[in-house]
Symmetry: C2
Subunit: 322 residues, 2 copies
């Protein structure tokens, strides 16, 4: 029964993962993370099985309690009989990368549950590539039959927000101390949030933040939401307060986007973006190879001598790379 996973084909690996073989799934994901030349064949083998999972994104400032909240969401979805995969994006922020390991360890309490799969992806040094790899990891989890895929990311930079472009439903967690609603608006969170949760809501100022957010949402009536104003919920993830309501709100949002056609639009947009990511990755590979050719070296020499501008070199290369 213990097949040698290193010897089997990509479609057999996908097939094993779809049967619940977690070692096969782990291997699939590692291959995707490594960006090997096999990725194309691998995605080809699993792509036809995608499109069934609901993907929820969770973001918020460091210290908002995202991991605890995600932990509770897992528990609630499991209690309702659903399988759940989590992709945790380790933040790329140089100055806030502290408590990650502890969070990950905490989530390991689900490790013995075959209906839960948790995987961390490290972001540092690969911001373009990360969202591409993350999308393909989500595809692998989707193809492996998980009902729900939760993507958890620290909202510390544009990169982390971009990752949420793969989620059907985005939940922004805030805490009373994390700043006021003006900051939320400036940060562009008003555009990406489908649901706001004010976590640690036992703290002073929680009600004030809730009121401000609701006012702001009222002002920022957004046509592209098709009648879904983001609800603002109060939660205390650490005491399991308000978490069932949060899960219900996510599920309701899912029903809303299916009904209004927003889901189909998002799926089209996400897949088109995946195609663009593939093209970008191919461009990087062919650029690196042209640079080491004789022509590439000659072009760089003329660039350094200011005989050619960067645009002229790019135009010369794009003819050759085609």
């Amino acid at each position: 029964m213990t097949a040698d996973l290193s010897q089997i084909s990509h479609s057999e690996l996908v097939s094993l993962s779809r049967q619940g073989n977690r070692a096969a799934l782990a291997r699939l994901i590692s291959k995707i993370e490594r960006r090997s030349q096999d990725t194309e064949e691998l995605i080809g083998a699993l792509f036809q099985h995608t499109g069934n999972a609901q993907v929820w994104g969770f973001t918020g400032p460091p210290g908002a309690g995202k991991s605890t909240a995600v932990d509770q969401v897992i528990r609630i979805l499991r209690a309702r009989g659903h399988s759940v995969a989590v992709v945790a994006i380790d933040p790329s922020s140089p100055f806030t990368g502290g408590a990650i390991l502890g969070d990950r360890i905490r989530m390991q309490q689900h490790a013995s549950d075959p209906g839960v799969y948790i995987r961390s992806l490290a972001t540092r040094g690969r911001h373009g590539g990360l969202s591409h790899a993350t999308k393909e990891v989500v595809m692998a989890l989707d193809a492996s039959g998980f009902d729900f895929i939760l993507v958890e990311t620290a909202g510390v930079g544009q990169t982390e927000l971009d990752i949420l472009k793969l989620a059907h439903t985005v939940c922004v967690l805030l805490v009373p101390e994390s700043g006021d609603s003006i900051q939320v608006m400036k940060a562009g969170l008003m555009e990406i949030a489908d649901i706001f949760a004010v976590n640690k809501s036992d703290r002073p100022e929680a009600d004030k933040l809730v009121r401000e957010l609701m006012l702001m949402i009222g002002l920022a009536e957004n046509a592209s939401r098709r009648g879904h104003a983001p609800p603002v919920l109060k939660t205390e993830a650490v005491r399991s307060q308000g978490m069932d309501a949060l899960v219900d709100a996510c599920i309701e949002h899912g029903a809303h986007i299916r009904k209004t056609g927003l889901l189909a639009e998002k799926q089209t947009e996400f897949l088109a973006e995946e195609v663009f990511d593939v093209l970008s990755e191919q461009l990087r590979i062919s650029f690196v190879s042209s640079m080491s050719s004789d022509t590439g070296k000659q072009l760089i020499k003329e660039l350094l001598e200011k005989k050619l501008s960067p645009y002229q070199v790019a135009n010369a290369l794009s003819g050759r790379m085609a």
Copy 2:
């Protein structure tokens, strides 16, 4: 004497900016920021005049006092008779975007000095494009004859660190409260910092952070530095303490990289990266146009129906876009 800048050619605009016409420079930069179709011609007109400025990058966590420090560096370089341009990158972090405007206003005290030019670039929503536009803004400042170009960015994410790839000398500002040296190492700052400044060094724990950094630098002996171990300086930017030493350290680093050939290598690498950015931008434009063609629409339809994988669509498109 007040030429209508909207009517003149790109090379005349570059020529005016090189003569010190700040309205012409502002117009050049705005054109670059807008990424119009003229950019190619514009860069072609100014590229030959680049390569003379020294580019220094300043990063650090929010609250480290970067703007005050940059302000002092401007003052010192001006006192030494140099012209200085500043590119301030507004952070894209959703949760730390607070005090920016005040900082910018503070720097306006140099507004009446013709030897100083300060420009902010906003990052939100364009992380790939930002470093490209920033590089070209630096080129425009370089071509306009500034001796020094200071690039100030909050180290809140990978994007912000990437921007430092256009600096010859990178100065990382820390404060005693910003965390310990382990975090600095985890964040990859050890690799990018040419100089560390422990700012607000009158505070407790400053000496401890200095000692830790020096120990860490000793451990992380880095061959690619060619014998330049990053100095660790104590500064109090707000009281002008240690700032001359910081400027001297930046100038010494500049001399070191010129002498060892590192500068030439950096220049080659930065220009090659600029060429790649041009290619990426061209890819994005031709991708958007293919997507709206009949073939593009047909490919996306087959993608949604899972008849084609994203890689197959990408391969079909890259044939057509060539």
